[in-house]
């Protein structure tokens, strides 16, 4: 079973960076955390309004960025939300959005440490 968060790829990327250059991994993590919040807001809004298209779109974006940084649990939840949205309904999405929020809250300290180079 894969870990909820796997930052080994980002750590490998950090090792590739040339000394003296700005920390690109910190930029990726910052961007991911900022964008996750925006996508979560969009997911909540989509569930509240019953907008399946918006749900699918926001979930698709969330799945993409989660996969990029190795946030596996978030990735899987987003994929399930995307599948729900694609059915044209939002039934069952609210709980998954809550789970997604929790997954982000759990992952955040790991990404914060990674961003800060700790």
């Amino acid at each position: 079973m894969q870990a909820a968060v796997d930052v080994s790829a980002l750590e490998a990327l950090r090792q590739l960076q040339r000394p003296g250059r700005p920390d690109g991994v910190a930029r990726i993590v910052t961007s991911f955390l900022d964008e996750s919040q925006v996508r979560l807001d969009a997911l909540r809004q989509a569930v509240a309004t019953g907008d399946a298209t918006a749900l699918e779109r926001a979930a698709h974006a969330m799945r993409g960025i989660s996969g990029t940084v190795g946030a596996n649990e978030m990735h899987d939840l987003a994929m399930r939300l995307e599948q729900i949205g694609r059915t044209g309904h939002t039934a069952g999405a609210a709980g998954l959005v809550t789970d997604l929020e929790s997954a982000l809250a759990s992952a955040r300290p790991i990404f914060d440490r990674l961003r800060d180079g700790l």
Binding site: R21, S31, G67
Partner: protein, 356 residues
């Protein structure tokens, strides 16, 4: 393929370390995708500046590409997209700052559109320019801008059948060929009007010869002289768009039977030549002879030159030429467009009322 319910896109698999073999070859788009945790197509979209890619993923691709030292394979890209993303520019004279400033405008617009610019010079010689044109055609540039071209209309027409052509400061008209120029008739008229307003009547012109724009400037000069009742004073000396041409033309005028009190030069370079000829004749500018240039290049603005001149919006001309090419690439069959920009006069220190 867009993922479906039955075929959801699998989580992106990272490849944190390249193989030993990979370490000895240039990084590829696949390496970047693996390190960035995205698909190859996302890398491709980021490199094309596709705004639909999310910021976090774009950041990941850019960081991975930089860390790996990845350079997009331009040849492969051109094969796929059937474009080289190069445009060629032939300027008639690299020594003339007028063209340098036009190139700035072209380069800026090209860069914004993701194009590279290949620059070459016709060296004020039709044969050399023909070779330069052939070279750019062989390099499969996506379009060519000819600035101050000396090529024949037939040569331009022939080239335009292979690749979009935009002409800067050219009187040539050909189907599907767009042109950008300044209203040179008006520009020369402004120069004469300024000199007349200062009280000059013996206003001569150093001509640009057969170079593009010369005929229009000649016409503007003649029209203005007639309009201000000075038709009897029209005097045009042979010259060209070089410093030497201006020097020769002015020298002839200064040693003629009736020395002019003002000279309109074919361009700024020719005006510099005229200034030299005036100094060599022991005369002073503007006390004895006023001089007006044309183009308003950086040369004219130099403090110790301070040339009164006709301004052409060179950067804008360059931008418009590149825009015309891009437009033509989108719509090859569109009707030719001929943009004419309005010149203005910049008064500095080489003009003054004539000494009575």
């Amino acid at each position: 393929m867009r993922p479906t319910l039955d075929h959801p896109q699998p989580p992106v698999k990272h490849a944190p370390r390249p193989s030993a073999e990979a370490a000895h070859r240039p990084p590829t788009i696949i390496d970047v995708a693996a390190y960035a945790g995205v698909s190859k197509s996302v890398v491709s979209r980021v490199l094309r500046a596709d705004p639909a890619v999310s910021p976090a993923r774009r950041e990941a691709v850019l960081v991975a590409a930089e860390a790996l030292g990845y350079r997009p394979n331009a040849v492969a890209r051109s094969l796929v997209q059937r474009r080289t993303f190069n445009v060629g520019v032939i300027v008639s004279d690299l020594h003339n700052l007028f063209f340098a400033e036009i190139l700035d405008g072209i380069a800026a617009a090209a860069s914004t559109a993701g194009y590279k610019v290949l620059i070459t010079s016709g060296n004020l010689d039709q044969a050399i320019e023909s070779v330069a044109l052939e070279t750019l055609l062989q390099l499969r540039t996506d379009g060519i801008i000819l600035a101050g071209s000396r090529l024949s209309a037939a040569a331009v027409r022939a080239a335009s059948r292979s690749v979009p052509i935009a002409l800067v400061t050219s009187g040539i008209r050909a189907p599907g060929v767009d042109t950008i120029a300044t209203d040179d008739v008006k520009g020369a008229w402004l120069a004469v009007e300024h000199l007349v307003s200062l009280g000059h009547s013996r206003i001569a012109m150093v001509d640009g010869g057969a170079d593009p724009g010369s005929a229009e400037r000649r016409r503007g000069y003649g029209t203005a002289m007639h309009e201000f009742g000075l038709g009897g004073h029209i005097e045009i000396a042979a010259g060209d768009f070089t410093e030497d041409g201006g020097w020769r033309g002015a020298r002839g005028l200064l040693h003629g039977p009736t020395r002019p009190t003002a000279i309109c030069a074919a361009n700024d370079l020719a005006a510099i030549g005229a200034l030299n000829a005036i100094a060599e004749a022991g005369l002073e500018v503007p006390r004895d002879v006023s001089v007006v240039g044309y183009d308003n290049t950086a040369l004219a603005a130099l403090r110790h030159v301070a040339l009164t001149t006709v301004h052409q919006p060179r950067f804008q001309i360059g931008e418009m030429a590149m825009t015309a090419l891009l437009r033509r690439l989108q719509r090859p069959a569109a009707r030719s467009r001929h943009d004419l920009l309005v010149p203005s006069l910049v008064i500095r220190q080489t003009t003054a009322p004539p000494t009575l």
